[in-house]
């Protein structure tokens, strides 16, 4: 059993650990240590990290179904916001570093290239989750409505995986592994729900 207190106490450590890669990469970028095409590398790393952390959010949600890991739920919001932070930096990279605010071009890119369409849609759909992440919002919306909104995370992750899948040129193993994880976690939840309901009916 992991106590809630222990988890809460370690929140700052978790935050710093999760943010650390971004500091390192931005530092390497500024000092010229990200190879000869640093914009591409920085953008790829930030995007990949965002997707991985989003997956981590799902994994934590699922693990917390086990009573002894229930306290992990205390980390979920924090980790979700860090995922958004990486996604925001990833998008900033694309808009600023890659296309230097050429919005006419970017708009065309979003419409013409499915992988960018999906990626952009994923970002947009993550916004309501970010804006409703405060305790106040949960109260205001009621937990039931809030929970429904936050099921959007599945769609966001699937869009992210699809974005990654489409932009990958040859070896699609990594996005497929991510998809496998999402599907497994999804069925785990469904299974639990049905199982629990049956128990309740008895």
């Amino acid at each position: 059993m992991i106590s809630s207190r222990l988890v809460k106490k370690n929140k700052p450590t978790v935050l710093i650990l999760l943010l650390l890669p971004s500091f390192i990469w931005v530092g390497m970028f500024i000092t010229g240590n990200l190879g000869v095409n640093p914009i591409e590398i920085l953008m790829d790393k930030l995007g990949e990290m965002s997707l991985r952390i989003l997956l981590l959010v799902l994994i934590i949600s699922s693990l917390s179904e086990f009573t002894f890991l229930r306290s992990l739920l205390n980390l979920r919001r924090l980790i979700g916001l860090v995922a958004f932070y990486y996604l925001f930096l990833h998008l900033t990279c694309y808009v600023f570093l890659d296309h230097f605010f050429n919005f006419a071009f970017i708009l065309k890119d979003v419409i013409k290239r499915p992988f960018i369409t999906f990626g952009f849609l994923g970002f947009i759909l993550l916004l309501p989750l970010v804006f409703t992440s405060t305790n106040n919002m949960v109260k205001k919306l009621t937990f039931k409505v809030w929970k429904k909104i936050h099921y959007l995370i599945y769609i966001v992750i699937l869009l992210g995986i699809f974005h990654f899948y489409l932009l990958t040129k040859a070896d699609k193993t990594e996005p497929l592994i991510y998809l496998g994880i999402v599907i497994a976690l999804f069925f785990l939840r469904i299974y639990k729900k049905i199982f629990i309901r049956r128990v309740a009916l008895r």
């Binding site: 095409n37 640093p38 919005f103 071009f105 013409k112 489409l166 040129k169 070896d171």
Partner: protein, 306 residues
């Protein structure tokens, strides 16, 4: 929004190991002082490359050209080819001349090089992934090899094949692509004076990551057409297979000329990032070689024959 010209931007590139020609040539002199003999007479004068540079262009550095590569035979990451190609043995090397020729034969690379004159060619290289470089190649026109091979009149295309050595090329151990890599050209494209068989760059023998010991360079086509580490050259009478267009025919055609009007689902072909620069450049039709090559495709529907 106010348009900003690249000249107005302070070199943002201070974040990058920015190339200066002086630095490049120092890399060159280090490279050429290495104790192994060069295949051919790769000259090394600092001005000869610059004479060939188009206005507003700089050479990419030796380091840029040799550490940022797409060569899936050594792995899919850009740095894999430079990091994982040390086992590859490019000497001795021979090339099989096959198909529609008087008599198929095997050509020892040393013999071949004794029959040709090595020239300097500064070309832009435009990758389909929307990045580009300017590279000072050494090599000889493919047409010279075709002369030596003396193909039959019925030969209309050439197919090139990269060597298949999974023990030396770790990327070939996985079926990322159907190995060996193959590419092709139409005979008139192959005979074009710009089409180069390269043996070196910056006055140095080609490194393994750049396609040692012999590679194709077709500057008006996307980089993947410029097949590396060529082991066989086959003359054929119909359009041969080319690896990427077999793998994803809707994305990569046989011709794969640099052409913004042919849409690609992943990368814009309207602009490109010149390695080492911050702002993107506009991609030129046929990568800026329109004057020299557009006659090859006169009357062809370029959206159909992409």
């Amino acid at each position: 929004m106010k348009k900003i010209f690249s000249s107005e931007i302070t070199p943002y590139s201070s974040y990058i190991n920015r190339r200066k020609f002086i630095q490049s040539t120092s890399a060159l002199s280090i490279a050429s002082s290495l104790p192994f003999a060069l295949h051919a007479s790769h000259k090394e004068s600092s001005t000869q490359f610059q004479d060939q540079l188009d206005e507003g262009e700089e050479l990419n550095s030796f380091q840029e050209i040799t550490t940022y590569n797409n060569f899936y035979e050594f792995g899919m990451g850009k740095s894999d080819p430079s990091e994982k190609s040390s086992k590859f043995k490019s000497k001795p090397w021979s090339i099989n001349i096959e198909g529609l020729v008087d008599k198929p034969f095997t050509l020892n690379l040393e013999d071949l090089l004794s029959k040709v004159t090595i020239e300097d060619r500064v070309y832009r290289l435009r990758c389909v992934e929307a990045w580009s470089m300017v590279i000072p190649w050494q090599g000889f026109p493919l047409s010279k090899l075709i002369e030596i091979a003396s193909p039959l009149d019925t030969a209309k295309f050439i197919q090139f094949k990269t060597t298949y050595r999974p023990e030396e090329m770790p990327g070939q151990k996985r079926n990322i692509l159907p190995w060996p890599y193959v590419e092709g050209l139409r005979m008139d494209e192959a005979m074009h004076p710009l089409t180069l068989l390269s043996t070196g760059l910056y006055g140095h023998d080609l490194l393994n990551q750049n396609g040692a010991p012999l590679r194709l360079v077709v500057p008006w086509k996307y980089g993947f057409k410029s097949i590396k580490s060529i082991e066989s050259i086959r003359f054929v009478d119909r359009q041969p297979d080319a690896t990427w267009s077999m793998v994803a025919p809707s994305e990569y055609g046989f011709y794969s000329n640099v052409n913004n009007s042919v849409h690609h689902p992943r990368w814009t072909q309207a602009t490109e990032r010149r390695i080492g620069e911050f702002l993107r450049r506009t991609t030129l039709m046929y990568n800026g070689y329109e004057e020299e090559v557009s006659h090859l495709y006169k009357g062809m529907d370029l959206n159909k024959f992409y």
